[in-house]
Symmetry: C2
Subunit: 159 residues, 2 copies
């Protein structure tokens, strides 16, 4: 089991684009009755099956297992509700921290999020110039919710 | 992916008891919003994570992955709602078919079910003498439902 401590931000600038290589992520969720998450993800030719517990602050329990690519694709097709989450992920290292910038496609086109994984909840953070407002505690930006209520379906009033 | 074709029966006799060795199963479920199932199971020192699609007749899609014992125990503890399903499983081979007899413990004490896996939906079946009525299509006997509404909580009127 891993303990994830993550902070999440909107991305408002372009300064990150030249700094890393992007990889396509495709993922879906088996609908659960509450804050527990069952995620199926395909990154390149590798599948992953991930279970996550409820979020407590910015911390979650996470259990992740690699699975065959073809089975992950079949699970996405048979067991997950559309729309799937599709995004380009770019990893950037800045001041010993790894930033993951997700540029969403399809039903979430237009949304760009940056996540940083921390070792402590109260760790201080250097804000890159391209970083926008923090959305760590806004459940609309959880990927599981972006699958249910995608960004392009949000009204201007709701954002 | 496997396609499961199973028939399930109550067990009313004892003739099976001398014919196989029993193994303890411990399992729980991550609550899902519909007929899809996410099961965590511990058999001896091995954990398993299993995803199943909706039942169509007596057929289901199934994806199963071995996971470390300690992680399976942690997932049962952190992500599954009590009560867990605990049962002794006895495997018996009869006329080229494998029967699995589950003798439930804890909240489902008193219930004994037999399952047989078939290769075709319309396959003919020799009924062993200890077999009771078929319950393949009764959702109360699905293990996922026995975790939600255990056998000892059923009223006589409801059975």
């Amino acid at each position: 089991m891993a303990q994830e401590i993550e902070r999440k931000f909107l991305v408002t600038g372009d300064g990150w684009r030249s700094q890393g290589q992007r990889v396509l992520y495709r993922q879906g969720y088996i609908p659960t009755t509450d804050a527990r998450t069952v995620r199926i993800r395909v990154v390149g030719q590798q599948g992953y099956l991930t279970l996550k517990g409820p979020t407590a602050g910015v911390t979650r329990s996470e259990f992740e297992y690699p699975i065959p690519h073809d089975e992950a694709m079949a699970i996405l097709d048979i067991l997950c509700d559309p729309p799937l989450i599709e995004k380009w992920r770019t990893r950037i290292e800045l001041e010993d921290l790894i930033w993951q910038i997700d540029e969403f496609l399809g039903a979430n086109q237009g949304l760009i999020l940056a996540e940083v994984e921390l070792t402590q909840e109260n760790q201080t953070l250097q804000y890159p110039s391209w970083l926008g407002p923090e959305v760590s505690h806004d459940p609309r930006y959880f990927n599981v919710n972006l699958a249910r209520h995608p960004y392009t379906a949000w009204s201007d009033a709701a954002t």
